[in-house]
């Protein structure tokens, strides 16, 4: 354990999250549904409130004071995201509604222009539906083929088979179901050696580990604000400048244009070309505050603490008879999916909730992965840096209660 992790004070950090200070069904809330969405620190809540109370206006083109302030804050948010991801230029950061929209944007702009009949798109077997369905739709439209890199019994993806026709590799950085951390840098290098473009779904990675898009050398990287302790409704698409510049626009409307006549419209440059209409300005301000907050604690400290918590939770859960962990990758983030003998995940989830333990149950938007493991659903506990060993203990106690009930 590093000193940074040793000095990590989750109890102190919890005070920054007002929502965690409550009883649920008479029990202290153990919020273990962070892979679905994370809670918000006071700093984020206050930043949004302050923005609406004193600075808010529509952005760009306004000549009055509020518009200038709002524009400055919005564009500062872009610079903060650029630094957070290690991107070369702020213009490589496109604000979207979330990870899903980021992937759809790439599918409908880059994809339509670059994927043709007979081409192949390679994804992995552990993708979230949002990194499957947009590509299926594109393949159907273009007459292309979707291929899938398999997972092994641990939930790792080891074989990425590229063919002459592979044009795009779209892969998760971390599995939302299994917690598997995928070897993005190595796989991206292999893909690039064959001229294959690489998109990374970073929804589960950005909140939990250092992401440096230039070190990973991916072409596109997408994530959502709400999983990074920021507000809902905002996401980020990073794209390499040359790619973004060559891409056609996404939606038409205000802000994405340079000149409009009824005969001909010329488009703005990236990222504005992809940001038609009034964006979620306060959302970006909130995301910027979330990034500040994460930076203050340090993403490596967060990752280190969560890894330690994952170890503790894994050891404690493994002691429970009839509990089987789904996903035992050697490189793993703080997500634990499990099944209980004789107890359906849906029943487990309901009982756990009655003891104040919030987990997710179901297929986690990854039905093909459930099919591969031969299970209809799992119960998933996913951790954040404000979780403690007490939360793990509450989870374990509640599982024992469920077992008693179904004994």
């Amino acid at each position: 354990m590093t000193n940074a992790v040793k000095s990590f004070d989750a109890a102190e950090i919890r005070k920054d999250f007002p929502i965690l200070r409550q009883l649920v069904h008479g029990h202290p809330l153990a919020y273990l549904d962070n892979a679905a969405s994370a809670q918000k620190p006071r700093a984020v809540i206050d930043a949004i409130s302050r923005f609406y109370s004193s600075d808010y206006s529509n952005i760009h083109r306004g000549v009055h004071a509020l518009s200038e302030r709002s524009t400055r804050l919005y564009e500062q948010g872009r610079v903060q995201v650029q630094r957070f991801l290690g991107a070369a230029d702020a213009h490589e950061i496109v604000f979207t509604r979330g990870t899903t929209e980021g992937i759809n944007l790439v599918a409908q702009t880059w994809g339509r222009r670059n994927i043709g009949a007979g081409d192949e798109i390679l994804i992995t077997a552990l993708e979230h539906h949002s990194n499957i369905v947009p590509w299926q739709m594109l393949c159907e439209e273009r007459g292309a083929r979707l291929r899938v890199a398999p997972v092994n019994d641990r939930g790792e993806v080891e074989k990425f088979e590229f063919t002459e026709r592979t044009k795009l590799l779209a892969m998760a950085h971390i599995s939302n179901v299994l917690g598997t951390i995928l070897p993005v840098r190595e796989v991206a290098a292999a893909a690039h050696a064959r001229g294959i473009t690489v998109l990374v779904d970073g929804a589960q990675a950005a909140p939990h580990m250092k992401v440096d898009v230039r070190e990973l050398d991916c072409d596109f990287y997408v994530f959502s604000s709400h999983k990074l302790y920021g507000p809902t409704g905002v996401g980020v698409l990073y794209g390499k400048s040359a790619l973004l510049e060559a891409m056609p626009p996404y939606q038409g409307g205000g802000d994405m244009i340079r000149t409009v006549t009824f005969e001909k419209t010329t488009y703005n440059t990236p990222p504005y070309k992809f940001e038609a209409g009034t964006p979620d300005i306060a959302g970006v301000v909130g995301l910027a505050a979330a990034i500040d907050y994460v930076n203050e604690i340090g993403i490596d400290n967060i990752g280190g603490y969560e890894h330690e918590l994952l170890g503790y939770a894994t050891r404690e859960l493994e002691k429970i008879d009839g509990l089987r962990i789904i996903g035992t990758a050697r490189r793993k983030a703080a997500v634990i999916s499990f099944v209980l003998e004789g107890i359906h995940p849906h029943d487990a989830g309901t009982i756990l909730d009655r003891y104040g333990v919030a987990v997710r149950t179901g297929h986690h938007c990854a039905q093909p992965l459930m099919d591969w493991f031969g299970i209809p659903a799992t119960t998933r506990a996913s951790f954040a840096f404000y979780n403690t060993r007490e939360d793990v203990d509450a989870l374990v106690r509640a599982i024992h209660k469920a077992k008693e009930m179904f004994a």
């Binding site: 849906h346 179901g362 297929h363 659903a377 009930m405």
Partner: protein
Amino acid sequence: MIDELYQEIILDHSKRPRNTGRLENATAAAEGFNPLCGDRLTLELRIEDDRIEEAKFAGSGCAISTASASLMTEVLKGRTKQEAEKLFERFHELLTSDAADSSGLGKLAVFSGVREFPARVKCATLAWHTLKAALENSREKVSTE
């Protein structure tokens, strides 16, 4: 409150469901699916002279959906199609309305606790939606969504 949901009779029917498996000489059948939790079931009925003589189900699901299917197959026996449809209406009301009256519902009254768990109403009604499809002789797979 959790004990009101998982009453003894529900736990019993979920662990030892009655009338499971395939039905010889089935005259009506339907498949049900709850995409939220992945529960699936196949329901087969033997209907003679408008009366449900026998009902069997197969599938996998949570305790609530399994117990509901099991108890449903028990109470359906000997009922006419119309009576069965009426029963579903009353059962649905029991799960969703605070003013519901459970008289005459017999064992089905144990599901009144589901009312406090809105996310689980679909689990309790999956078998019944499937029944409705079977009675309408629809070959389509029904979904709770």
